[in-house]
Every structure is written in structure tokens, then in C-alpha cells.
């Protein structure tokens, strides 16, 4: 059983604040919003439970992504990975976006969302998902191309 209030807790808090965003977005992009959120929560819970090990890892984010992946595969897959755009968001988000995202492969979604949407570097994404930078770049380019094609976007405004 873990301690309740010690330096580890503070260290873990800092770790979660730093790691959780890309983990959440990557798993959501890969497995959908619902499954991604559950997988992220489980991965971080696992990290806290095994904090002695996780804190010494050189790439804990990548390891936890794999933990999340393992758990996500066990969950029931919802029929709709990405919910429709809320009416109030329609002026800024194209209604076609969720369906267009569903058309991409899992790796293409992760690369496009993290790099093109959230501004992570290719190296950060490569470390997170365990791919080479070149592979990540390829997924990004192909994913963007397909996304634009599906949404009928010719020029990014």
C-alpha cells in the first residue's frame, strides 16, 4: 500500500501534470474519447501503484502509453469513437471532423492530433508511441492529406 503524503506524492503530482496531457490526447486519438479517458486513468493509476519503478524509467511516458494500450484493448469498443461537434462549437469546428478522424488509421490520428493539433514535436510523439521519427512524419503527412481530402479542405485558413 502506498504512503499518503510524502515526497513521492509531490513528485508524482508533477509527473502527472507533465505527462498526462499527451497521454490523454494520444490515447483518445487512438481509441476514442471514452476508451482513451479510461485507459489514461488506468495507466496513471498503475503508475502511482508502481511509482518506485516508474520514477526511475528514462521514458515513463512511453511505458505508460503501452500500459494504456494494453488496457484499452480489453475495453468494449464504442461504436462512435469521436462524438459529433456540439452546435455551439460549429462555428469553429467543422462538423465533418469526427467522421474524418474515424477514417484515419490509429497511428495517423495520434500523429496528426499531437503534432498538427497540439504542437508536440515529432521526437516527443516518437518517444511516446515507440516509433521512429521518420515513421511519425509519414503518418502525419498521410493523415493530414487524408483528413483534408475527407473534409474537402484544400487550404488551411
Amino acid at each position: 500500500m502506498r504512503r499518503s503524503n510524502d515526497p513521492d506524492q509531490r513528485e508524482f503530482t508533477r509527473f502527472v501534470k507533465e505527462t498526462e496531457p499527451r497521454l490523454s490526447y494520444a490515447l483518445a486519438a487512438a481509441y476514442g474519447m471514452e476508451t482513451g479517458a479510461e485507459a489514461t486513468a488506468d495507466a496513471l493509476a498503475w503508475a502511482w501503484e508502481h511509482w518506485d519503478r516508474v520514477k526511475t524509467m528514462t521514458n515513463p511516458g512511453g511505458y505508460l502509453y503501452r500500459v494504456g494500450q494494453s488496457n484499452a484493448r480489453r475495453y468494449h469498443r464504442p461504436r462512435v469513437l469521436f462524438p459529433s461537434v456540439a452546435p455551439m462549437d460549429e462555428p469553429t469546428i467543422a462538423p465533418e471532423l469526427p467522421n474524418a478522424l474515424s477514417e484515419l488509421s490509429k497511428n495517423q490520428r495520434i500523429a496528426v492530433v499531437l503534432i498538427h493539433g497540439l504542437g508536440y514535436t515529432e521526437r516527443e510523439v516518437a518517444d511516446l508511441v515507440g516509433m521512429s521519427r521518420w515513421t511519425v512524419r509519414t503518418h502525419t503527412e498521410r493523415g493530414l492529406q487524408k483528413l483534408r481530402s475527407t473534409m474537402g479542405v484544400t487550404i488551411d485558413v
Binding site: 508524482f12 474519447m33 479517458a37 524509467m57 462549437d89 469553429t92 497540439l118
Partner: protein, 308 residues
């Protein structure tokens, strides 16, 4: 409408359910019930080489084994040269060394596969796990054993098991094939009669010899020189002179033909005692089952050449 990047960010910001450190710290202790991350298999060059070796062994061994199975004893090669051995009377066989070669190659393949598995297991060092293991070894020894078991890729294990079973089956098949009686093997009663026939020949026992041939039509031909049974005495004169001609089996005999009349082909060496070389060739013995007399020789043709 904003650009695609902004849309993606907005959409995910709106829909992704974030997890805070407080959520985790206040949450359930589910870690114990959760599985370890699944090992992600990565192609390894060493694994590829190992599997390549194994497949080569199976294909090569299978082909050679099949060739052995289809080859008839006493085969004559494409050049027309007879292939049985001369000297110590032991027939040549490619089957036994095949088993040795297959076993050696399989051992090499196994080494490669084991190296590949070890390499794959340490592949998780990309995520820094190796460092973790080295720093917490003493306290988490049991955990590590469990991790290793989880991480051992089931497909690699299956491949090793399948290849091992296939190799054992191949070896068993080759050995079984080499030791099994051929459908062209000479039956015991015929072989026994022919042994007596050659023993009578070698000892010059005319009476015993005449009991084993059908006198009315027995004919002996050696490299074109023929003698008939009507003149069994001629045969004795011709072949059992002062020095005598001895026959020595130097290979496996083969039985050909159906029904009561059959042909036995024997690789033989024919020589005169005191003269070391002599001739090697084939004796083709036409034998028939003749009532109470049992198997009798009715024709004996020897085709051979001098040992040089």
C-alpha cells in the same frame, strides 16, 4: 472556420476527459488488478536469420529425405557409374550424415532463436525498463520473473515448439526410413537360398549347388560367357578350377518382379583367392519357387568390370 490544427485542438480540448493527479491519488488501487503492458513484438534480424536457418533445415532436410525415400537401393547414377561401395563390403548411405547435418543446423538455428528472444525481451529498454530492473532487482525479484513470463512472446515460443516438433519428426522419419525394410527387400527364404547358393559356389560343392538350381534350364552367364545347367559339370570346370572363383556380397540385394518368378539383383565382387582385386558388378539371379524344392535359381547373369 479556423485552420485544421486549431479545429483539432479545440475539438480535443472540448471532448477529452482529463485526469488530474488528485483523481489518481484519491482513486482506487486498481494497479494490482491491472495487467502488465503487453510486450510489443519487433522484428529482429537475428530472429529472421534463425527462422531462415530453421526453414532451410526443414526444406533441405525434407528434400534430401524425400530423395532418399524415392531412391532405389543399388541405384545407378546418371553417368552410368555403379554407386555401391567396394572394399569393406559396406554400402554407402547418405541418410545418416543427413541426420547429423540437420541436427547441427537445427542447433545453430536454436541458438539464433534464443538470442532473438533475449534480444526481444530487452527491447523494452527503449522505455527505460532495464534501468528500473537494475535498480530494484533485490526487492522485486518475483515481479521480474512474472514480467519475463508475460513478456516472452507467445508466437516465438510457438515457433520454437513447432520447429522443434518438426525437426524431431523429420529426424524420426529419416531414421525410420533408413531402418525400415524396403518393399524391394529380398524375403528371408530367398535370401537364405541365395546364401546357400553362393556358399556352395565358393566352396565348390557341386552337389549342394545342383540342389539349388533348376537343372533343366539353369544358365550362367558371366560377361558374355555362358554355360548351361545341362553342363553343370562345365560350370564346375569353368569356374571352380584349381583356384576357384569366389563371390562376395558388397551391397544390399534388391528383389524385382511379381509372381512366383522374381529377379534378385546383388552387388558382388568376384575374385580368386590370393589375387586381391577381381571384378565388381551385379549378379542378376532369376529365381522361381518350384514345388517342394522351394526357391531355385534358373538363371544367373553377372555383369562387371575389373577393379582398377
Amino acid at each position: 472556420m479556423s485552420d485544421l490544427g486549431t479545429q483539432l485542438r479545440s475539438y480535443f480540448d472540448e471532448n477529452v476527459e482529463r485526469v488530474t493527479p488528485e483523481d489518481v491519488l484519491a482513486g482506487r488501487h486498481v494497479g494490482d488488478l491491472m495487467p502488465e503492458p503487453r510486450f510489443k513484438w519487433r522484428a529482429s534480424p537475428r530472429l529472421a536469420v534463425g527462422l531462415g536457418f530453421a526453414v532451410t533445415v526443414l526444406v533441405l532436410g525434407g528434400s534430401l529425405g524425400l530423395g532418399l525415400a524415392l531412391r532405389q537401393p543399388g541405384d545407378i547414377s546418371g553417368s552410368g557409374r555403379m554407386t555401391f561401395g567396394v572394399g569393406d563390403g559396406t554400402p554407402e548411405s547418405t541418410g545418416w550424415w543427413l541426420v547429423g547435418v540437420a541436427a547441427a543446423l537445427a542447433a545453430i538455428a536454436l541458438v539464433f532463436i534464443v538470442l532473438a528472444i533475449r534480444s526481444a525481451r530487452t527491447g523494452s529498454k527503449r522505455n527505460g525498463e532495464e534501468k528500473t530492473m537494475s535498480t530494484t532487482f533485490e526487492t522485486q525479484e518475483v515481479d521480474h520473473k512474472l514480467e519475463d513470463a508475460h513478456r516472452a512472446n507467445r508466437w516465438l515460443i510457438a515457433a520454437v515448439v513447432v520447429l522443434s516438433v518438426a525437426l524431431i519428426a523429420l529426424g524420426a522419419w529419416v531414421i525410420s526410413d533408413l531402418t525400415a525394410a524396403s518393399e524391394n527387400a529380398v524375403p528371408d527364404d530367398v535370401a537364405e537360398m541365395l546364401d546357400d547358393y553362393h556358399a556352395a559356389w565358393n566352396t565348390g560343392d557341386g552337389d549342394a549347388f545342383m540342389l539349388l538350381v533348376r537343372e533343366v534350364d539353369y544358365e550362367h552367364t558371366a560377361n558374355g560367357t555362358s554355360h548351361t545347367a545341362a553342363g553343370a559339370a562345365d560350370i564346375i570346370d569353368a569356374y571352380w578350377g584349381p583356384d576357384g572363383i569366389h563371390v562376395e556380397h558388397i551391397g544390399e540385394s534388391v528383389l524385382l518382379g511379381d509372381g512366383s518368378t522374381k529377379y534378385v539383383v546383388q552387388p558382388n565382387r568376384v575374385f580368386t583367392p590370393g589375387y586381391p582385386d577381381g571384378m565388381v558388378g551385379f549378379s542378376i539371379l532369376k529365381v522361381t519357387e518350384f514345388g517342394d524344392s522351394g526357391w531355385l535359381v534358373i538363371d544367373h547373369t553377372f555383369i562387371g568390370d575389373w577393379i582398377r
